[in-house]
Amino acid sequence: MLVGTGITIIRQQNLLAASMLSGIYSLLSACWMVELDAVDVAFTEASVGAGISTVLMLATLALTTRSEKKPVHKSFLPLFVVLATGAALIYGTLGAPPYGDPANVVHHHVAPRYVNDSYDETGIPNIVTSVLASYRGYDTLGETSVVFTAGVGVLLLLKRGKRSKREEKK
């Protein structure tokens, strides 16, 4: 279903429909994340991916244009590049660890320590929260500063446009 939505997105020339579909796509991927036990990530994806991104896209569309132009040249080069990369990646997964196996290397480094000790050390039952806010608090601070920088960037970009217009009027 996800793949179907993805492919419809590329074929869709109406950008409004495409951005609504990308919201649906985010929601579907959030469902898949719940299936894979990542409930926190699914929450974030559903609110941020399906909510905020879609709103931002719609705002941009309101300020620009609704539909995209038909591609002038139909070249098969992009398709070829994509198929080649995809084939290489699938060849790569053959060496990847099998899905869901508890013996995988990922589950044996630092994860068991968090799983076993984080409740006693932080008192937060949700392990994801305790790692995010307690053990990796500085990283989260850094993430906040990234978001802040992006916000400032957006404001500066949009402000400048308005001012130059005002100067033109003068």
Partner: protein, 120 residues
């Protein structure tokens, strides 16, 4: 045959990733490119989450008083939470750039912007 089932998730992720990649390189419209970039990004999230899954495990929330519960690996979840938020801020910045390009050139199609550049 066992490969088919144990790697099925990875393959779906790769198909999604290539869908996004194709959109980015083949379409001229910048909003469309950003949507493609979003698809790509989500597929990477799903790849990480897939790796964190343990069969028979539950969500990594400690249930007090219950012994020998298998939890899925929480570390990819933490990473991806951060990545989602950073991803949406980059998307916002990209969309702001698109709005600026529209103001400056009057179009958001890549080839028209290039033609305008040459003309100026």
């Amino acid at each position: 045959m066992s490969h088919l089932f144990s790697h099925y998730n990875y393959w779906i992720v790769i198909v999604l990733m290539m869908t996004g990649f194709y959109t980015v390189i083949s379409r001229g419209n910048m909003v469309k490119k950003l949507i493609g970039l979003n698809i790509f990004q989500t597929s990477v999230f799903l790849l990480f989450i897939t790796m964190g899954k343990i069969k028979g495990g539950t969500a990594p929330i400690v249930m007090a008083g219950k012994e020998d519960v298998v939890y899925s690996n929480p570390i990819p979840h933490v990473l991806i939470l951060t990545a989602i938020v950073v991803g949406v801020s980059t998307t916002a910045l990209g969309l702001a750039l698109v709005v600026r390009i529209k103001e400056a050139y009057g179009t958001v199609e890549e080839d028209e912007v290039q033609a305008e550049d040459i003309r100026r």
